[in-house]
């Protein structure tokens, strides 16, 4: 457990010292969202119709932008070798890294999302469920994303490749994340979609760390 908390606190302190990295991701989230009114026009009905989907898509893209940094710095400076030789398990390294990524990227995105939803005229019933859906969905995004980041370590064009690998796997999260918000807005229960989001997170939590650990050990080999 000490290795887990040591690594988690190291990553959080690093993120704090290099806070520009996290801020860039949030800024990207904002600018990507703000582009849509220019693309589809400023009419409130159109915007409020697409608000949930736009916020989700922009959040996924912003998370993607931060993902290729999850392991690559440690990989390049040799830290990854030493992390693997922790004497317990590589899965532990993965879990600490994923949690750190979620805390430094997922949580800021969640905090930022209602503000951006306001600019897109999201109906007022939707805000609570937007935050809830992102809370349940972003851990999956971090878990799957970490796996993609581990797979592309040392690859040519790693960043582009990462999006190609990971974005198709995000489709279920996107479908149920937006559906939960739309259900609430149209007066339907959102609980089934939220349960499915939680289920997806559990499946990802059960499988991704092991696959990611295998990919990391293999990248170090």
């Amino acid at each position: 457990m000490s290795a887990f908390s040591a690594l988690l606190s190291r990553d959080l302190r690093l993120a704090l010292r290099q806070s520009a990295d996290s801020l860039t991701v949030i800024a990207f989230f904002a600018i990507a969202t703000v582009l849509f009114p220019f693309g589809v026009g400023p009419e409130a009905e159109v915007l409020s119709r697409i608000a949930a989907g736009v916020v989700w898509v922009a959040a996924l893209l912003a998370a993607l932008l931060s993902l290729d940094r999850v392991f690559v710095v440690d990989f390049e400076d040799g830290t990854l070798d030493q992390l693997i030789l922790n004497g317990q398990s590589t899965v532990l390294v993965v879990l600490a890294k994923v949690l750190a990524h979620w805390l430094t990227t997922g949580v800021p995105l969640i905090i930022m999302s209602p503000v951006l939803a306001v600019t897109l005229q999201l109906p007022s019933e939707g805000y609570g469920v937007l935050v809830l859906a992102l809370l349940l969905g972003t851990p999956t995004v971090s878990l799957i994303g970490a796996l993609g980041a581990a797979l592309v370590l040392g690859a040519r064009r790693g960043g582009v490749l990462l999006s190609l690998l990971v974005l198709p796997l995000y489709i279920p999260v996107l479908i149920f994340g937006t559906a939960a918000i739309e259900a609430t807005i149209t007066g339907m229960p959102s609980q089934p979609m939220l349960s499915i989001l939680a289920g997806l997170a559990l499946i990802a939590a059960a499988l991704c760390p092991f696959a990611t650990a295998a990919a990391l050990r293999q990248a170090a080999e």
């Binding site: 290795a3 040591a6 190291r10 390049e76 400076d77 070798d81 693997i84 004497g87 170090a220 080999e221």
Partner: protein, 199 residues
């Protein structure tokens, strides 16, 4: 497959120097011993028992390679303290001793990004003292070191062995150990051919 028919053993307090030309597989062998790479065939034994749990082996060894594994945003002390906490070894006093030994005490609170290549390598080596384990695997440890630091490293290795520690190091330069065995890897013809391609 780089090695065939390679066998060696190392007793407590022992040292082994791997010698061989570039590409002879010194680094590969060290990484195999560390458990970072897996052998196609062959076994590692510890106290005459096969290593069944590579994690248990990892707890008893320290691998210092070409990359220094240093976070440049952290200070020298923070770097050492992180690894000591991560590996769950060592105590605060050892961190100070490690910095003293490798001449980093004056730099303790400087961010590592200000360090030179040699100083960074010394910081990597300082982990050997700050987070003590029985088996050291060192890949060209004297690279980028000046004479004084090389002397410090030689002494550190000698003290470690005097306490019953073991050292395996790859080197083609200065003699860092007295006594000990030498394994010349150029006797083992490197064959890049994978064993299954024999059509």
């Amino acid at each position: 497959m780089v090695f065939a028919g390679l066998g060696f053993e190392l007793a407590a307090g022992g040292a082994m120097v791997l010698r061989g030309p570039n590409g002879s597989g010194k680094t590969t062998l060290l990484r195999l011993m560390a458990g970072l790479a897996r052998p196609v065939a062959g076994r590692l034994l510890w106290s005459n028992a096969p290593v069944e749990d590579p994690e248990a082996l990892a707890r008893r060894l320290r691998f210092i390679g070409h990359q220094d594994a240093i976070k440049t945003a952290f200070t020298v002390r923070e770097n050492l303290a992180f690894w000591a906490a991560f590996w769950g070894t060592g105590e605060p006093a050892l961190i100070d001793r490690a910095m003293d030994t490798f001449g980093l005490a004056a730099l303790a609170d400087f961010p590592a990004r200000l360090l030179s290549a040699g100083q960074r390598h010394r910081l990597a080596l300082a982990r050997l003292i700050a987070s003590p384990v029985p088996l050291w695997l060192l890949d060209e440890p004297a690279n980028a070191l000046d004479d004084r630091s090389t002397g410090a490293l030689t002494n550190t290795i000698a003290e470690h062995r005097a306490r019953g520690g073991m050292v395996v190091l790859a080197s083609h330069g200065a003699d860092l150990v007295t006594g000990g065995t030498t394994l010349a890897l150029d006797n083992f013809t490197p064959t890049a051919a994978q064993q299954w391609v024999e059509l």
